[in-house]
């Protein structure tokens, strides 16, 4: 077998296709930050424990620090840089601004990407550990949001306003749906 320690891949990030050759060891997080200069996605623990690196892969949230870039070939990546529509913030970004959902801001890109996916998961009626009866559709409540956002840690402890911002964005989405 020929040895291929690196691979030529194409990554679709925020709608734009990039061709690059990556060492197979490269995580999606490092490819985004070091190769594509998309530094909005943050590295916290690099072990799947903090959520700072959360991006959307085919519209589902993942920890980009445990996702090999080579294994993301051919899939659609959305980062915090790809959420706004020109000058107009994504509704979840706007909710974080309006309700003060951050302090230092380091965890915020991951929080927002995660929240965008949470709102979609609720719309698809996915249950969570906070759902009393998994046979029924979940409620859009602070308790549900808190549980669903538990993969995103905030060292500043801005949780109270993060939960408010995500709940408000989720309820608006429900009204508009």
């Amino acid at each position: 077998m020929t040895s291929t320690r690196s691979t030529e891949i194409s990554l679709r990030v925020n709608g734009e296709t990039h061709s690059l050759t990556v060492d197979n060891r490269t995580t999606l997080l490092d490819a985004l930050r070091e190769r594509l200069d998309l530094t909005g996605t943050k590295k916290g623990c690099d072990q799947g424990q903090c959520g700072a690196c959360t991006v959307l892969l085919d519209r589902q949230r993942v920890n980009s620090c445990l996702q090999l870039a080579v294994a993301a070939e051919g899939r659609d990546v959305t980062t915090i840089e790809g959420l706004a529509d020109g000058e107009e913030l994504h509704p979840v970004q706007q909710a974080f601004v309006d309700l003060d959902g951050y302090q230092c801001g380091y965890c915020t890109p991951g929080q927002i990407c995660s929240a965008v996916a949470v709102i979609e998961e609720l719309a698809r009626e996915w249950p969570s550990a906070a759902t009393d009866d998994v046979r029924r559709p979940p409620a859009v409540s602070e308790e549900e949001i808190r549980e669903r956002m538990s993969g995103n840690l905030c060292r500043c402890g801005a949780y109270v306003n993060i939960v408010r911002a995500v709940t408000q964005a989720a309820k608006n989405e429900q009204v508009n749906a």
Partner: protein, 329 residues
């Protein structure tokens, strides 16, 4: 991290062929455990065969009601599936009790079954660990072991299996389906995780190079009334200190069918057969539930710092069965 080759397999047979004869190769599922262990240097594969794209990402329902869950289905899709939510709610709850939304979107059923222990010494290359380096010793036996095993351990290793999902699968008599170069085979979950003995590095009965293709859950009407309960050190996003998957069917106050499995107490999900035997045909009362828990836990051998797990599990048995019984009224 060591350099490695990367291949994608188009189907299960190709995946097995790519791996065969390559002792240093590993399948890559979601990578949430393997990539982490490669970063810390516990795993050093020379080749990764990516199985995420295999067409094993769905649930099939057989004529008799059995479910076969594809090995590359994500943990999220498993927990959201209507058949699982309605017919095996404890399985959906167990999966949802594990990791985070992000990780469950990545993690696969096959990878979840094969995730490694969270014993801190296992990932600390500077410390002896029989599981990582056979014969080097067990640092946890007389070290930090407050979340280690109380059942089935040996002096060679006292680690626990960390999977929540596997606890529910154990309660419902799941069967693991595998593919090897010789053909396909089935391994009951009860035989899938090997006893620790003096070979803690050999964790499963999976033949070398075998691909997990799926998990079959036999039809089990009792499972429709089931729960998973997990106790941990924070409200969410933490491994269990103790957990239970239980199902209960009571008629006229008499236990007709019951399933109980414990998590975070042994090197494998612990099916509580003694407790089940004690309950079948007897009264469904809190006293009977407690006596059944005691029957199972008579075999417990807590370590110096994890004695709390014995009453924790006992209380989980009583409260979960009581709750199931009250919900049925």
């Amino acid at each position: 991290m060591r350099e490695f080759d990367y291949r994608r397999a188009a189907d299960a047979h190709e995946a097995v062929a790519l791996l065969s004869g390559e002792p240093e190769a590993r399948f890559l599922g979601g990578g949430t455990n393997l990539v982490d262990l490669m970063k810390t240097g516990v795993e050093n594969p020379a080749l990764l065969v990516d199985v995420r794209g295999l067409p094993l990402d769905r649930i099939e329902v057989a004529g008799d009601g059995a479910l076969t869950i594809g090995a590359t289905m994500t943990n999220s899709d498993l927990a959201a599936h209507p058949e699982v939510r309605h017919r095996y709610p404890a399985l959906a709850e167990a999966v949802l009790a594990g990791a985070s939304g992000q990780l469950r979107n990545m993690a696969t059923v096959g990878g979840n079954l094969l995730q490694r222990t969270r014993c801190g010494y296992f990932t600390d290359l500077s410390r002896p660990c029989n599981k990582r380096e056979p014969g080097s010793g067990c640092s946890a036996l007389n070290g930090e072991h407050h979340n280690h095993a109380i059942l089935g351990w040996s002096e060679h290793c006292v680690a626990t299996n960390p999977s929540d999902m596997a606890v529910a699968l154990a309660a419902f008599d799941a069967v693991v389906r595998v593919l090897t170069p010789e053909g396909s085979a089935e391994i009951p979950l009860a035989d899938f995780y090997l006893p620790v003995g003096d070979t803690p590095h050999r964790e499963t009965a999976l033949p070398d190079g075998a691909l997990i293709t799926g998990v079959t859950l036999p039809a089990a009407p009792v499972a429709a009334r089931s729960r998973y309960r997990k106790v941990r050190e924070r409200a969410s996003y933490a491994f269990a200190n103790g957990s239970i998957a239980a199902a209960l069917h009571v008629e006229d106050g008499t236990v007709r069918d019951v399933r109980i499995a414990f998590g975070a107490v042994a090197s494998r999900p612990w099916r509580a057969r003694e407790a089940e035997r004690a309950l079948i045909g007897g009264p469904a009362t809190p006293e009977a539930f407690a006596a059944a828990a005691d029957a199972e836990l008579a075999a417990a051998r807590p370590l110096a710092h994890n004695g709390y797990k014995v009453p924790l599990i006992r209380n989980l048995v009583v409260s979960t069965l009581t709750e199931l019984q009250e919900a049925a009224r």
